[in-house]
């Protein structure tokens, strides 16, 4: 628009006609309209358009509307019930949807709870049935079954397992009552059970394993006592590791080997070191394995003897002699291997394994020695950066791993949603 020729914008002409201008502006536009034929034409055009709109009339509203709203207003005015905001009954779409969603959520939560309890009771029933089976089966199978019951050492399950191990120990004990000394019969676990030697079965060999977790008040004293217990009972530590961290309780993990007859006494002394947090005992019967091994060794020895006799009594070609010697060497190797295995087996039976965990009952120092403020700030900053980098990396990895799948789902679900949404928008625009 040429503002030099028309100091008044066309929109201002329209606003003037609508009575939307301040008096000074309205006066200016009015004067301009009197002088400018073009703008006067524009104003006439606006008036004409507006006048044309008057053709679009609407028929009168029906009388039924009048009656119903009148009745409603009378009721509302009489009681003011409808006028009170707190007491209005709003049956809108969102209200029932909200209730539906709430009820659905509650039902889902209830379903999950019921499913959880049903699953839990099934697991308990399964355990009971397994235990009853274990009571009827052989000691070795019982141990295997019990081990399969609770792989996760939570406090409750460890306790249950311990109780079951105790009962199993009691069950196998009668079998070991008359155990022969020839096999170096294993020892029953401590913890108040009947004397194991008196209850062992004849010829049974059991390798005992005990796991013990103890919290001690004085870690150094407990550590010294542990050494003296091992010395007193002629045991040894197959593996031992101790950790000491700043502002954290000291811990010790050890795998001890205690002579089987000494196990009960040693366990009693170990338990006296502090508060027992968990205890698990198990026994692995290796009698059959040992008997098989002994028979195989015997057979191999006899074979060796016979071959030696052949070598001494018969004469033949040098090749045959060499072949017999090779065979003797092979059998000898087998015998030595089996003897080593037998010794290891007997050692497992003779020496019970105690997996011990000692943890200090940690008491935080009032003024723990700590790093300087600058170091702490630096460390926190580095940790923050590392954490941010890890998060970023995790995000990138997630996108890399799940991106293609997400894209597929986006294509599957997104395209119909997009077209439906577009159609909905168009429809709304048309209505």
């Amino acid at each position: 628009m040429n503002t030099a020729a028309h100091p008044v914008a066309p929109e201002e002409v329209m606003a003037f006609l609508d009575g939307e201008l301040m008096s000074a502006e309205a006066q200016a536009v009015s004067i301009h309209l009197d002088q400018c034929a073009e703008c006067a034409g524009l104003a006439a055009q606006f008036r004409s358009t507006s006048h044309s709109l008057s053709d679009w009339t609407v028929p009168p509203v029906s009388s039924s509307l009048f009656e119903s709203v009148e009745e409603l207003s009378a009721k509302a005015a009489a009681s003011l019930e409808l006028a009170k905001p707190g007491r209005t009954v709003q049956l809108s779409f969102w209200n029932w949807r909200m209730w539906a969603v709430g009820a659905g959520g509650m039902a889902t939560a209830l379903l999950i709870l019921v499913a959880h309890f049903v699953t839990r009771s099934n697991v308990l029933n399964h355990r009971e049935s397994v235990l009853s089976m274990a009571q009827m089966s052989a000691p070795r199978e019982r141990d295997q079954l019990m081990n399969s019951l609770s792989p996760a050492p939570s406090s409750s399950t460890v306790e249950e397992k311990n109780q079951m191990a105790m009962s199993a120990g009691a069950l196998i004990s009668p079998a070991r009552a008359q155990a022969g000394k020839s096999f170096g019969v294993a020892h029953a676990g401590g913890g108040g059970g009947a004397p194991a030697e008196a209850l062992a079965a004849p010829g049974s060999m059991i390798a005992r394993t005990v796991s013990l977790s103890i919290a001690v008040k004085d870690f150094a004293a407990a550590r010294a006592s542990l050494d003296s217990i091992l010395l007193r009972h002629r045991g040894y530590a197959a593996q031992l590791s101790a950790t000491t961290q700043e502002n954290a309780p000291r811990t010790l993990q050890a795998s001890l080997r205690i002579p089987a007859p000494e196990l009960a006494a040693a366990l009693a002394e170990l338990k006296a070191l502090g508060r027992v947090e968990s205890e698990t005992q198990s026994g692995d019967e290796v009698t059959q394995q040992h008997t098989d091994l002994a028979a195989r060794i015997q057979n191999s020895r006899e074979t060796e003897e016979r071959m030696r006799a052949i070598l001494e009594q018969r004469t033949g070609k040098i090749e045959d002699v060499l072949q017999v010697e090779e065979e003797i060497a092979r059998v000898r190797g087998e015998i030595e291997s089996m003897e080593a295995e037998q010794q290891a087996l007997e050692h497992r039976v003779d020496f019970a394994t105690v997996d011990l965990q000692l943890a200090e009952e940690y008491k935080a120092a009032l003024n723990p020695p700590s790093a300087s403020v600058s170091n702490r700030i630096h460390n926190a900053f580095v940790a923050g950066l590392r954490s941010a980098a890890e998060t970023l990396l995790g995000l990138v990895l997630f996108v890399e791993e799940s991106g293609p799948v997400l894209l597929i789902w986006l294509a599957i679900l997104g395209v119909p949603v997009f077209f439906s949404w577009r159609r909905y928008r168009r429809m709304k625009g048309r209505l």
């Binding site: 358009t49 709109l53 003011l80 009170k84």
Partner: protein, 221 residues
């Protein structure tokens, strides 16, 4: 009976009253008309049923016109009118005389209209319901009226809404801006555009002529 006349018909000549001046309606009683809408609403919120009756008499036709021009189905328009009055009854206790009753009423009506459009669009999109169309020209609906309606419906939806609110509901630019959540200048420019486009459509109702004439007109200015 007729609903509110277009703004320029009401204020047709040079010395114009302010556009927020109360429109006059044939059914309104002269004694009742002396009382303002706001006073009547205040009286109703204090329990005077006849006050609401007066308001209802004043606004039932304009409000019906508001819906009738925007909704194809006349029965639906009546239903929405009734729904709006029921909403006014329910919200009477919350009414505060900070805004004109007329603006408040149309704001409620506009909300109800939008909800109706949303639901109708949803039903049409996802449930396959056919949206109702405007009736063709008959004896009851004059041809000129149908032409006007068709021309208005060819406008951009937002431009059309601004135009209708200005011409028939006689809301001020500021009230339209508040109702549609638009800046005041946008309302003015959209109204200007809508009027030019409507003029073009009425002059030569072909799809391309309106834009062409509008451009020509702007160039001339």
């Amino acid at each position: 009976m007729e609903d509110a006349f277009p703004a320029f018909v009401l204020h047709s000549e040079a010395i114009r009253p302010l556009m927020n001046e109360m429109p006059r309606y044939p059914e309104a009683d002269s004694s009742e008309a002396a009382e303002s809408d706001e006073e009547l609403m205040a009286a109703f919120s204090h329990g005077a049923a006849e006050a609401f009756s007066t308001l209802f008499l004043r606004y039932k036709q304009p409000l019906f016109g508001f819906f009738r021009r925007r909704v194809a189905d006349p029965a639906q328009a009546e239903e929405l009118t009734q729904e709006t009055f029921i909403a006014v009854l329910r919200a009477a206790a919350r009414y505060q005389q900070t805004a004109l009753f007329r603006t408040w009423l149309y704001a409620i009506g506009f909300k109800i209209l939008r909800a109706h459009r949303r639901k109708a669009a949803f039903r049409a999109t996802f449930l396959g319901e056919k949206p109702a169309g405007f009736e063709p020209a008959t004896q009851s609906t004059l041809e000129a009226q149908v032409l006007m309606r068709n021309a208005v419906w060819k406008l951009d939806p937002l431009d059309r809404e601004v135009l209708l609110l200005r011409e028939f509901e006689q809301l001020s630019y500021a009230e339209i801006a508040e109702l549609l959540s638009l800046p005041l200048n946008t309302v003015r420019s959209r109204l200007f555009r809508a009027r030019l486009a409507l003029h073009s459509l009425l002059a030569a109702p072909t799809p391309h002529s309106s834009a062409h004439e509008s451009a020509q007109f702007k160039e001339r200015l």
